[in-house]
């Protein structure tokens, strides 16, 4: 395995690892359900993307043909991750999960829950 290949694989692994770690730290440090959702979406995109890309390069080199299994994992993650995040946020909204202290426009939670028109509510929510 030549030096440059090794370097690419290591750098990608490092980047992936760092982002997954940051995602976990975010999950731990952030204060409410909504902000916590931001951390995993980050970890799955760049973090896992980096790790899987390095796996593709390494395994392709090792086996002599392009290994695309890992690319499929990325594909399925990219399809499913936003849906999960969206549903979790939606559930949190409908259960009126507590929001963090400085959250702005909290009134929109009720607007969305009760399917009120935003136009009627715009005046009262913009000055929060």
């Amino acid at each position: 395995m030549n030096f440059w290949l090794e370097l690419t694989v290591s750098v990608l692994l490092m980047i992936g690892g760092i982002f997954v770690l940051v995602g976990s730290i975010g999950l731990f440090r952030l204060k409410d359900a909504y902000t916590r959702l931001h951390a995993p979406t980050k970890a799955t995109t760049v973090g896992l993307g980096g790790i899987l890309l390095s796996s593709v390069i390494y395994m392709s080199h090792l086996q002599g043909y392009i290994n695309i299994h890992a690319l499929l994992i990325t594909l399925f993650l990219v399809i499913t991750a936003p849906v999960t995040a969206h549903i979790l946020a939606k559930v949190a909204m409908h259960h009126k999960v507590k929001t963090m202290e400085p959250t702005q426009n909290e009134g929109l939670v009720d607007t969305a829950r009760e399917q009120k028109s935003v136009d009627d509510d715009a005046g009262s929510s913009s000055d929060n």
Binding site: F19, V22, I25, G26, R29, L30, K31, D32, Y34, T35, L37, H38, A39, T41, K42, T45, V46, Y65, N67, I68, H69, L71, L72, V78, A81, P82, V83, A85, H86, A89, K90, A92, M93, T99, M100, P102, T103, Q104, N105, E106, L108, V109, T111, A112, R113, Q115, V118, S126
Partner: protein, 166 residues
């Protein structure tokens, strides 16, 4: 011709299924091509009654361009959010915004919502029943909430509109 179109109601989907089958098995041997083709024909046929007619992507090149634009945005936004998360938590000012939508059909809206969720810093939370507003949770709210709305509309929604030509 009519038999062909009846057997393959969605040729694109069948092709994708076959390719994914071959990718899963990491092979292009004849046996797997035949086996995959059977799936590629049977699955869309079985799923055909579930289909709701959706607008098609009229400009595939625009879609490809959009894909790479989003990829770039995801990386940039990731770094921004990573800095936010590692910095003092008190600096984070989350908030909700209601993004008014110009696009009406479900498929473009789904793509927009997924994009918004994939780019770190924003998560879609709800779509209003009349499909006129997308409620988005923003991790770091700028002073002017219109900034977020304008960003989503100008950067993503207009691109999707071009893609579907609607």
């Amino acid at each position: 011709m009519s038999l062909l179109s009846r057997l393959l109601p969605t040729p694109g989907r069948s092709a994708i299924l076959l390719v994914i089958w071959l990718m899963l098995n990491v092979t292009v041997s004849l046996g797997h091509i035949i086996f995959g083709s059977v799936f590629a024909i049977a699955i869309p046929l079985l799923c055909a009654p579930l289909q709701i007619s959706q607008p098609r992507i009229k400009k595939p090149l625009k879609a490809l361009k959009y894909f790479f634009m989003v990829l770039g945005d995801v990386v940039v936004a990731n770094v921004q959010v990573a800095i936010l998360v590692l910095g003092p938590i008190s600096r984070i000012k989350p908030g909700f915004v209601a993004v008014p939508l110009d696009i009406k059909e479900i498929r473009p809206i789904t793509i927009l919502a997924s994009t918004v969720t994939m780019t770190p810093g924003t998560v879609t939370a709800e779509l209003s029943k009349d499909k006129r507003y997308l409620y988005v949770h923003v991790l770091q709210m700028p002073d002017d909430e219109q900034e977020v709305i304008r960003f989503i509309k100008d950067r993503y929604e207009s691109a999707i509109k071009e893609m579907f030509q609607c």
